[in-house]
């Protein structure tokens, strides 16, 4: 005998009732308003979840609700109607299962972020034409010109010399990007170089002056070509979308204040992915130097000098630590500081 409440299909009045599921497959309901006797197959019994009320719905819309979950389970077992949901409830009840599931989910998420997301983003990026790269951050240079940069004061002849270097490099990169070299005075950002996804590479006067040889500038240019050729901006966008999709799947509907906290792992992962791209661009620069018969030390020397110049502030988060990227000799105390 299962105690509960009966609701007819018409009003919200609740009537005390009992249900009995017989071995003959007949469900009997006794209530103050109605007596019903129906085959078990004609009703639908909701799956158990923890200890929330269970519902037996009759085919005419009436329903019986009860908190006697165990009694319903026993009756269903006797009638041979257990099913997957019984196992689910047992799993959900045990902390050991929850911990095992947590470990599995953590490992799967880690593997997905480390291998799955970059691989998927790479495949997706390959499927997109190079013209898409130009649309990413196309207003970026304009904005930087207004805020961080000033017109270059480098002699035109010197600019042309370096542009010729890049043209050679672009030919060996052999991809669909339209490489172009721009010079600026790095008012706020000092010695620096960066590439826009479209293939525009910007080098500051300060960086040209900092370099001890053209090979060092070439190393920097090759690094930037590595970013463009590897389509790192597009892939980073796609990877961020992938990580955000995963976070959404894991956290479901992230509610109000908690979304702030959910953004943190996404940001950490993004920093990791952009460090990976720096390594990839470094590798491309070294490869190019080797192929040209230039000393790889040109890259190390330039990187170390930049790191010293920067005091590593801007390189802190999005770039790998310099000790890992280049074999730096102990820094001389810079006289400028």
């Amino acid at each position: 005998m299962i105690e509960g409440r009966y609701f007819d299909a018409r009003t919200s009045a609740s009537h005390p009732a009992q249900v009995e599921i017989g071995a003959n497959g007949i469900l009997r309901l006794v209530s103050s308003v109605e007596l019903r006797q129906v085959p078990l197959e004609s009703v639908s019994i909701s799956d158990r979840i923890a200890d929330i009320p269970r519902r037996i719905a009759f085919d005419d819309g009436a329903a019986f609700e009860t908190l006697a979950n165990d009694a319903i389970d026993a009756a269903l077992d006797a009638a041979g109607r257990g099913g997957f949901s019984r196992r689910l409830v047992r799993w959900e009840r045990r902390w050991a299962v929850a911990l095992a599931a947590l470990l599995a989910v953590a490992m799967a998420s880690w593997a997905f972020v480390k291998f799955g997301v970059p691989a998927l983003a790479n495949v997706a990026a390959r499927a997109m034409p190079a013209s898409i790269d130009a649309t990413i951050g196309s207003e970026g240079l304009e904005l930087l010109d207004k805020t961080m940069l000033a017109p270059s004061s480098l002699p035109v002849a010197r600019q042309e010399e370096l542009r010729r270097q890049l043209r050679g490099m672009a030919a060996s990169a052999n991809d669909e990007h339209d490489y172009r070299l721009e010079f600026r005075s790095g008012k706020r950002i000092g010695a620096n170089a960066f590439a826009l996804p479209s293939g525009i590479i910007v080098v500051t006067d300060e960086l040209v002056e900092l370099a001890k040889s053209d090979a060092e500038i070439d190393a920097v240019l090759a690094h930037e070509v590595g970013h463009v050729r590897g389509r790192h901006a597009l892939r980073l966008l796609l990877q961020n979308a992938g990580v955000a999709a995963l976070a959404l799947a894991v956290l479901g509907d992230v509610g109000s204040a908690s979304s702030l906290a959910a953004a943190v792992p996404v940001m950490l992962v993004q920093a990791k992915h952009s460090r990976d791209f720096e390594r990839e661009a470094d590798a491309y620069a070294r490869e190019w130097l080797r192929a040209e018969g230039l000393p790889e030390t040109a890259f190390d020397d330039m990187l170390c000098r930049l790191a010293r110049e920067d005091d590593e502030i801007t390189y802190l988060s999005s770039h790998p630590p310099k000790d890992e990227r280049a074999d730096c000799k102990p820094a001389r105390k810079s006289p400028a500081r």
Partner: protein, 356 residues
């Protein structure tokens, strides 16, 4: 549920009946993590079943006058809807990536489609909710939604958002007065004045906080410049900690103020027939919940999230009750709207929770 109903059925006066919430963070966590594992193992297919299980747990843990709420969503229908939604999104993303200018065509289409999506998904959500075997309903129509969401939205933009609180008010009103429990329609008594009051208070607090932070950080910058030498590490760290706290604590406080005022304005003005709903969330308690929830989620790398959600929900329901006039036994079921079966199927596709 077994215990007898706490209300005398024939009482003529009003009686205050509280909402009860029996969910626990531990239970919700275990449901969530098992859901998550099965979703991963099935490459996302199980997510529809997971959603139904999660919502059934939350609804079933909430009760009024001894009867729990129920969620009736069907996993297969939700899965079908999700697959269609993903398909539509992928096509949209591809088309706008390849021909970026098509976005100029899509944006106005979305503006006119969104009210339809809201109406259909709301209809679906309400139909999937019941209490004491009485299904909820939603009767908003496309025209009303268009006027409310797009029309008043345009007014809000034209008036430089001075009328934004009125827009919010109209949206809440549209969603609530079109809701029904069985045949009993809901009413909404909160006036637009309250929306204006808390909107501009929150805005003023936000502007004041931003100005204060800007002034203080300007002062710190000046101290850097004037000192000549490098500032002491202790001072820099103190300033940094102050700014970070300011950037997190102030948004949290304003967020708590907003949510307290908004939720109280919504549910405090709601009536289902003769029965009035009360909602008295207190700022201090909500802020405390926000702070501890955010800290918990941060310190556990997100694992605390299920507890955070349950704590938030439990507190809100603790603050809510219903002033019952007469009896809660007299809701009557509406005729099943078989005619709108296709509309509901579309609603499942767009079963998006827009909030208010």
């Amino acid at each position: 549920m077994e215990e007898s109903s706490p209300m005398p059925a024939a009482a003529a006066g009003t009686q205050t009946v509280p909402f009860e919430f029996r969910g626990t963070g531990g239970q919700y966590f275990r449901i969530w993590i098992v859901n998550l594992l099965l979703t991963i193992l099935t490459l996302g297919i199980y997510s529809a079943w997971a959603k139904v299980r999660r919502l059934r747990y939350l609804y079933g843990s909430t009760s009024l006058a001894g009867s729990a709420f129920e969620y009736h969503g069907q996993p297969l229908q939700i899965l079908k809807g999700r697959l269609i939604a993903v398909g539509v999104f992928v096509i949209y993303a591809w088309v706008t990536q390849l021909w970026p200018l098509t976005i100029l065509f899509f944006l106005p289409v979305f503006a006119f489609l969104m009210p339809l999506v809201i109406v259909l998904s709301r209809r679906f959500q309400m139909r999937m909710t019941s209490w004491r075997n009485i299904r909820f309903g939603f009767h908003g129509e496309y025209g009303g939604a268009l006027a409310t969401y797009v029309g008043w939205g345009v007014v809000a933009v034209i008036t430089l958002y001075v009328m934004a609180p009125y827009w919010i008010y109209k949206r809440v009103r549209f969603l609530l007065v079109n809701t029904s429990v069985g045949t009993q329609r809901a009413a909404f008594a909160t006036g637009p004045g309250r929306f204006f009051a808390f909107y501009f208070t929150a805005l003023g607090l936000a502007i004041g906080a931003v100005a204060a932070i800007a002034l203080l950080s300007g002062g710190i910058g000046a101290a850097f410049g004037a000192g000549g030498g490098p500032p002491s590490a202790g001072f820099a760290m103190g300033a940094g900690a102050f700014l970070i706290l300011g950037l997190i604590a102030i948004p949290l406080a304003i967020g708590a103020y907003w949510e307290r005022s908004f939720t109280n304005a919504i549910f405090g003005g709601l009536a289902i027939g003769p029965h009035r709903v009360n909602c008295r969330i207190r700022f201090g308690r909500l802020l405390w919940l926000y702070v501890t929830n955010v800290l918990g989620v941060l310190l556990t790398l997100g694992l605390f999230y299920p507890w955070a959600l349950i704590r938030r929900l439990r507190y809100q329901l603790e603050c809510m009750d219903v002033e019952v006039a007469g009896s809660l036994d007299e809701f009557t079921a509406a005729a099943a709207p078989d005619a709108s079966a296709t509309g509901e199927a579309i609603g499942e596709v767009f079963d998006v929770d827009f909030g208010m």
